[in-house]
């Protein structure tokens, strides 16, 4: 191996080590726990690998693993409903974010260039406050005697306080609020780099501002929209804090199910199984989709 190739390999090593240590190994542990059995012990599951038992220790360990937890998940409607409801919440919120984020990012990209750094800063600034505190703030806004209802009552727009907190609507509001920057920033990055002469060319060819947006700006921003949608959709599927604080007790999302299995029931194996299912549910289609997109891209290039 030549020097430069050795150097090349060294440069590539850290990301691989990072991914292995903080993603692959934890996932393997989670996968293992999901195949175990809950126990009143420390750690609260069985079997535990007997390192001193040698080959025999391994074989008894492997024989003790089973798919019982996954069978439980498949058999119980609660988990299926939680999964579907998570996907529905995340999907709806992503759709709303796509609309709101596109409008916001477009307005930012078209603003005078000396204003743009300030606008980007304003989008990012909320991150400097604790996420938990920002979600609590929404409770203060949405509760029956909260800011929103007080304002609407004062304006005479509604006769009685609206019931928003502890509804699905509140969860959607929370999700859209919390994930908006993840949608806006990739969209803005793409839109601010679009060649403005393309818009001029479209206008020159008879397209009014609306048609220019739908036929030129938006299609050319698709990459940003895709990135933003993935950045929002994936974590929203497993979101726990927002449905827990804003959604009330009957909001069903995988994140909450996972949490209660871990901390209320202390059923680590079942919770791990939920985590694995969540990962497969969310990441699986994306990996497939990306492979598809790459194939399509390669075909188009040809």
């Amino acid at each position: 191996m030549t020097r430069s190739r050795l150097l090349d390999a060294l440069v590539r090593l850290p990301p691989w080590l990072w991914l292995s240590a903080f993603f692959l190994v934890p996932f393997a542990i989670t996968l293992k726990i999901s195949l175990s059995e809950a126990a009143t012990a420390m750690p609260p599951y069985l079997p535990v690998l007997d390192w001193k038992g040698g080959l025999e220790g391994w074989s008894t360990f492997l024989e003790a693993l089973h798919f019982q937890n996954y069978e439980t998940l498949a058999g119980d409607a609660l988990y299926r409903d939680a999964a579907l409801s998570s996907l529905a919440f995340a999907g709806t919120a992503t759709a709303i974010l796509a609309g709101v984020g596109t409008a916001l990012a477009y307005a930012m990209a078209r603003a005078p260039s000396r204003w743009q750094p300030l606008l980007v800063a304003l989008v990012v600034v909320p991150f400097w406050t604790s996420f938990l505190i920002r979600v609590y703030a929404w409770i203060a806004i949405l509760k029956p005697e909260g800011l929103l209802n007080a304002a609407l009552l004062r304006l005479g727009l509604i006769p009685a306080p609206l019931e928003i907190l502890n509804t699905q609507g509140a969860v959607l509001i929370g999700l859209v609020y919390a994930y908006l920057p993840f949608m806006v920033l990739p969209l803005y990055a793409v839109m601010s780099r679009l060649d403005p002469t393309l818009r001029e060319a479209a206008a020159d060819l008879g397209a009014g501002p609306t048609r220019v947006f739908w036929t030129v700006t938006l299609p050319l921003s698709a990459a940003g929209l895709r990135a933003g949608a993935l950045l929002c959709f994936i974590p929203m599927c497993g979101e726990f804090i927002i449905p827990d604080l804003l959604g009330g007790s009957d909001t069903l999302m995988l994140g909450r199910v996972l949490w209660s299995e871990f901390f209320s029931n202390r059923d680590w194996p079942l919770a791990s199984a939920v985590a694995v299912v969540l990962l497969v549910l969310v990441v699986g289609p994306i990996v497939l989709f990306r492979g598809d997109a790459r194939k399509a891209g390669a075909e188009a290039a040809r």
């Binding site: 002469t197 001029e200 060319a201 206008a203 020159d204 060819l205 008879g206 009014g208 030129v216 290039a301």
Partner: protein, 359 residues
């Protein structure tokens, strides 16, 4: 109301400032239907801004732009019956060639088959038959240039604006494309306004050239008129090599004037504007108009250097007062009258070959 008698496009005292910089400064210009007009000038002289004012991408600070007698001021770009070919081509990267051409045709109330027919015709017009399905990024530079041209022609504009249309092509392709562009304009009969910084390109393309300098239109005319009768030292130098001899303006008669120089009196074409006797002037003589003379007449000079340039021979000559003159003669012409370098000779040129310019 549309005024059929007047010019197709009329620009009246157009002005546009960017901050403190006057990009276009009181430009007036009339364009006839079917005319090939060229705006010539260095970068930053305001020629592209003038084009963008006509297209509607910039708004006038003062003046008017009329198309067939109708003021364009109230029309946004997408309602103006002019089209522009952009210097960067600005092809839509997410659409095929046919999609790019169809973009301007949608919204004209054409049926799908009519649009397909128009696209076929446009592709044939710019010799890109069969390439309708390709993406712009899979085309060569010359092909992209032709797609941009066809797209700008799709809506059959009355005036086509072309911003450095050949600027991104390499030299040999540019010369070939000049001829095609010229032929295309003749065939379509539309008025073309080309912006270029290349004098040779302007002369090859245009019926009429407008020379711009620092936001102003300094002279307008055919290539021959600008070359033979420049109104200023700037225009004279822009369109080709020129010898300038400083002097003092004398009496004017019959369009000719005398100029008193350090080398003696000369005659030349009088300037268009009356400068008044005694004004400081320059006598401008094109190198190819200077010829050897028989001894005793004309200007005595010493040949310094002969340079063979293929189709032309350039000679550098020193005059008695030390100034250098350049001459240019066709390479095939007889070398009679020209000495070897170091030799002396006499030079002459016809009085109407010299133009008197304000100094």
């Amino acid at each position: 109301m549309a005024d059929r008698e007047g010019p197709l496009l009329r620009i009246e005292a157009a002005a546009k400032r960017f901050g403190a910089h006057a990009a276009v400064d009181g430009v007036s210009l009339d364009l006839a239907a079917g005319e090939f007009f060229c705006l010539l000038g260095p970068s930053g002289c305001g020629k592209s801004t003038l084009l963008r004012l006509v297209a509607g991408f910039e708004s006038l600070d003062a003046g008017r732009i009329l198309l067939e007698g109708e003021d364009l001021a109230s029309l946004p770009p997408h309602r103006r019956p002019v089209n522009m070919m952009f210097q960067s081509y600005a092809l839509f990267p997410h659409l095929s060639v046919a999609g790019n051409l169809a973009y301007g045709l949608k919204g004209l109330g054409l049926s799908r088959t009519e649009i397909a027919g128009r696209i076929e015709k446009l592709l044939g017009l710019v010799r890109l038959d069969g390439l309708g399905g390709r993406r712009p990024d899979t085309l060569s530079g010359g092909q992209r240039q032709r797609v941009a041209l066809a797209r700008a022609l799709a809506r059959e504009p009355k005036v086509l604006l072309l911003d450095e249309p050949l600027g991104a092509l390499d030299r040999s392709l540019r010369e070939e494309t000049q001829g095609e562009l010229r032929a295309l304009q003749r065939r379509l009969g539309a008025a073309f306004v080309v912006v270029t910084h290349d004098p040779a390109e302007a002369m090859a393309l245009a019926d009429r050239i407008g020379v711009m300098e620092a936001g102003r239109l300094v002279q307008c005319g055919s290539a021959a008129a600008l070359y033979e009768r420049p109104a200023s030292r700037y225009v004279a130098g822009l369109l080709g090599d020129v010898n300038l001899i400083p002097g003092c303006l004398g009496a004017v008669s019959d369009g000719l004037a005398s100029v008193e120089t350090a080398l003696g009196p000369f005659r030349g074409r009088a300037p268009e504007v009356d400068l008044g006797e005694g004004a400081a002037v320059l006598l401008a003589v094109r190198p190819e108009r200077i010829a050897p003379a028989t001894a005793g007449e004309g200007l005595s000079a010493t040949l310094v250097e002969t340079t063979f340039l293929g189709e032309r021979v350039r000679r550098s000559l020193r005059l008695p007062d030390g100034t250098l003159l350049r001459t240019s003669t066709p390479a095939g012409a007889a070398a009679t009258g020209w000495p070897e370098p170091g030799g002396s000779l006499h030079l002459r040129w016809p009085p109407d070959a010299a133009t008197i310019l304000p100094a």
